[in-house]
């Protein structure tokens, strides 16, 4: 297992390194110019533009720019300064990351609370009315775009209650009630989509698992249904669910990006969109490292957990190693 984790760690580092090069190159290919985005609607001369390009180091060869940025990833500033705001990227991320983590965390917790039991219920006796109902419900959850759901929620609150969520973000420590009033709406919308993925995955996994030989054997031995589900069916279902949940993590972040803007949450998603519009290269690159790193880390954690939960994978690994 230790050897496996070490191997995964180094492949993740290599993937992260490749991702930084890819992001750097893609940003340079994209139409647009960071200097002109900064100057935006100002009547500037060509000399002024070039002087600013020089000041920001954008007149240097691409590889020098890349290495400079890479060096700044490790010097504590996490990529240097933002072209657009002039602020330290590390400080920017330190302020925005907790917001996104909280919203994503709440969404994952809420999704697990409602989607896992309902998935089990639906999968345990497929084809029943409740299964059909949950199927339709999850289909709606997957089909409704986040931005549309957000609009419906806001207009609904306005029309029915003459109320809208708070507009100034508070951390849980500052004002828990205001924090929850503000965060609950994007969390509900995100968990509707994310939970629907989980529900359908759990339903399918439970259905498949219950058809397997060893479950049928266990049933024949007269094991009670609760024990059957929790002790015998749960490990393979959990393994599949973890892998699907991790795969949809990027969709969760994508949804958060949209909803943070609508609900005024100062998170990573909103920061990333703003940076992309402004062609703020160092910020986009640093955010990309962060997101790719987080994604790789989660994938690695899920793979390790899967091996831990599912003995078949450990066996396969051992056989493969021999």
């Amino acid at each position: 297992m230790g050897h496996y984790i070490l191997r995964r760690f180094f492949t993740s580092i290599a993937a992260l390194f490749i991702a930084t090069i890819a992001v750097f190159m893609v940003l340079r290919i994209l139409p647009g110019d960071a200097v002109l985005s900064i100057l935006a609607d100002t009547p500037h001369s060509v000399q002024m533009r070039e002087a600013l390009r020089n000041e920001l180091g954008l007149d240097k060869p691409a590889y020098v720019q890349y290495l400079t940025w890479l060096g700044r990833i490790f010097d504590g500033s996490f990529g240097g300064r933002s072209f657009e705001t002039g602020g330290q990227i590390g400080e920017l991320i330190a302020a925005q990351l907790p917001v996104t983590l909280l919203v994503s965390g709440y969404s994952i917790i809420l999704s697990c609370i409602w989607a896992l039991p309902t998935g089990f219920i639906a999968g345990y006796k497929p084809g029943k009315l409740r299964d059909k109902f949950l199927n339709v419900f999850s289909l709606i959850g997957l089909s409704v775009p986040n931005i549309f759901a957000a609009s419906i929620v806001l207009v609904g609150l306005l029309k029915i209650f003459r109320w809208s969520p708070p507009i100034i973000y508070s951390t849980p420590n500052e004002n828990l009630a205001e924090h929850l009033y503000m965060a609950i709406w994007p969390v509900l919308i995100l968990s509707l989509e994310y939970g629907s993925h989980l529900l359908r995955t759990v339903r399918a996994a439970v259905g498949e698992t219950l058809k397997t030989q060893y479950i049928r054997g266990a049933k024949a031995r007269g094991i009670n249904p609760v024990s059957l589900l929790l002790r015998h069916a749960m490990p393979p279902v959990a393994s599949i669910t973890f892998s699907v949940a991790a795969a949809h993590f990027s969709a969760l972040i994508g949804g958060a990006i949209v909803l943070e803007a609508v609900f005024g949450l100062p998170g990573v998603g909103r920061g990333l969109v703003q940076a992309a519009i402004a062609r703020d290269f160092p910020v986009i690159q640093s955010y990309s490292v962060l997101l790719v790193g987080a994604f790789l880390l989660i994938q690695m954690a899920v793979d390790v957990l899967q091996r831990f939960l599912d003995p078949r994978q450990r066996t396969a690994e051992t056989v493969f190693s021999r």
Partner: protein, 557 residues
């Protein structure tokens, strides 16, 4: 009845009668005289986004900065646009100014009662430091800071001298007769305290921004809290120097909360549910007629709408790229063909003005230089017949295809033009781009036509940056290298009387919009910002939404 008893009865009636009289008098007076502003209260406004470039007014003119910047850094520079008439120049950080006979030297006396928010006295040295940064940039630790984007606009500087008695002199290489009018541009805010920035520059941090040094300004409010992406909170600056007409100290408000709201839809909902006292300024956030209906439905008379002349909706040609638009008859035909009043409802959200009007009907102040749409005032049918004849004469009776650069943030203007020009046989190929590409493309020669973006200074000399030659003014709306424009602007800047100035400005307009038709002005847009009815004392500029963003005179009823 004894005298004592009579006195008792009369006193019993006199006392209430006195209060009734007092009440009636107060009511009568309050209807005659405006209400007295009251101190206190918190104003909550939406802001389009986080101010870019570290709040550096030398780097950006973004409204996201200047909507907030007025409160922190003040509404002006040494001079400002007057609150009662934004076309006049009033003193701000200077008490008076003089020029030599040739208008090459300008001397300003700096106020002695101004303090930075950290308590340090503001002096002529700070002004010199600011002008040095503007004109020459800075050097430190082997690094170079670029001059301010507007350095050329201020004139061709020779030297900046510190004089005794807290005065400063700017010496220009050429005549600069309208320097105070140019300097009154609210974009030129002093946000650069020498005592905080000089040490950073000396250490090599030449890009040091106002944000890096804690957003220390001299404006009516000082920064209390900045949470990127969420909130900018400013509180009353108790040592602010401006006073109102009754010699009461400004500002009236205790605090302003600027809530960062990039999404106009979220702003609408928040305003309509009472979470905001005022809307954001900026494209996309300005209200359309449709959105206003929702505001009025929910809030009725509890909301009012501040209107400011916005940018001009125009079609500008790239004369440095081959195509049928090289022929002036084709450009003239396009100008004649477009149904300009239709643009107001179809492309400008229902607010604007255009030909045949000479300006908005309720013009509050005299504006000598803003009445361009006086060309092509015949009925539309007559104009369109002429347009078709011109196209035939030019050999393009069957039309042609032309690229048109469109800003993704507001594609409706492009769609309007495409629909209009289809009738003339012109296939307008819309190239809708995002903000990043828009900022690059509009200063490039990659497209056949565009609308441009830059809002120039309202004084005519300030428009050179958008009407001048491309090689000198890359952000010019039309891309051309017509040297006659330079000559016309040179003459304008050397005009010695207002009559001469107006005549020359009319000549420039005619040359640009009629004789050569480099640009087709379509309609003047009007920006609409909502405020709650209890927000009083707002100085609403007639033109240019960057003006009067200090909110020093605002109070809550």
């Amino acid at each position: 009845m004894s005298y004592h008893c009579l006195n008792k009865i009369s006193f019993r009636y006199v006392k209430p009668a006195f209060f009734v009289l007092l009440f009636l008098l107060t009511t009568a007076l309050s209807s005659v005289y405006p209400q007295t502003p009251v101190y206190g209260g918190v104003l909550t406004l939406a802001n389009r986004g986080d101010p870019p470039a570290g709040f550096d007014s030398m780097r950006t003119s973004s409204i996201a900065l200047h909507h907030v910047g007025g409160a922190i850094f003040g509404p002006g520079n040494l001079v400002m646009r007057c609150r009662e008439n934004s076309y006049d120049v009033c003193p701000y950080l200077a008490t008076y100014w003089t020029a030599n006979r040739e208008f090459t030297e300008w001397t300003f006396a700096i106020r002695t009662d101004v303090y930075w928010h950290d308590g340090v006295k503001f002096t002529a040295e700070d002004v010199k430091f600011w002008f040095d940064l503007v004109f020459f940039g800075a050097e430190g630790g082997g690094n170079k800071r670029a001059p301010a984007y507007f350095s050329k606009e201020l004139g061709n500087i020779e030297k900046i001298e510190l004089l005794e008695h807290n005065r400063i002199r700017l010496v220009f290489k050429q005549r600069n007769p309208y320097f105070p009018e140019i300097l009154a541009n609210p974009r030129f805010k002093i946000a650069h305290p020498k005592h905080l920035m000089q040490p950073a520059i000396d250490e090599g941090n030449v890009s040091v921004s106002p944000l890096d040094v804690g957003l220390i300004g001299v404006g009516p409010f000082s920064l209390s809290q900045y949470r990127k992406g969420s909130l900018i909170r400013v509180v009353r600056n108790d040592s602010y120097f401006e006073v109102d007409d009754s010699a009461r100290q400004l500002p009236y408000l205790d605090r302003i909360d600027y809530v960062i709201m990039p999404d106009p839809f979220a702003m609408d909902i928040a305003f309509r549910t009472g979470r905001l006292d005022g809307g954001a300024r900026g494209q996309g956030h300005y209200l359309s007629a449709e959105r206003i209906e929702g505001y009025q439905r929910d809030l009725g008379s509890d909301v009012y709408f501040a209107k400011t002349d916005g940018g001009n909706f125009r079609l500008a040609f790239n004369l440095l790229r081959d195509g049928p638009w090289q022929d002036s008859r084709v450009r003239r035909a396009i100008a004649l063909w477009i149904d300009k009043p239709a643009a107001i409802t179809s492309a400008l959200g229902g607010f604007g003005w255009t030909t045949p009007d000479l300006g908005p009907p309720d013009l509050p102040v005299l504006r000598y230089f803003i009445n361009w749409p006086k060309f092509d005032r015949e009925p539309l049918d007559t104009r369109r017949d002429k347009a078709l004849a011109l196209m035939e004469e030019a050999g393009y009776a069957d039309g042609f295809t032309m690229d048109h650069l469109v800003r993704g943030l507001n594609p409706v203007t492009g769609e309007f033009l495409k629909a209009q020009l289809a009738g003339l046989g012109i296939d307008l190929n819309l190239r809708i781009v995002d903000e990043g590409e828009w900022n690059r493309a509009r200063v490039s020669l990659d497209y056949d036509s565009q609308q441009g973006r830059l809002t120039p200074s309202p004084i005519p000399e300030g428009t050179l940056s958008v009407y001048g030659r491309y090689s000198e003014n890359p952000d010019a709306y039309a891309k051309h290298e017509d040297a006659k424009i330079d000559q016309l602007y040179f003459d304008l800047s050397n005009a010695t009387s207002i009559e001469q100035r107006i005549r020359l400005w009319r000549e420039i307009e005619k040359y640009l919009f009629y004789d050569m038709t480099y640009i087709v002005p379509i309609a003047e847009s009007v920006y609409v910002v909502p405020y709650r009815s209890y927000v009083k004392g707002l100085a609403v500029p007639v033109e240019d939404a960057h003006t009067h963003t200090d909110f020093a005179t605002v109070w809550l009823d």
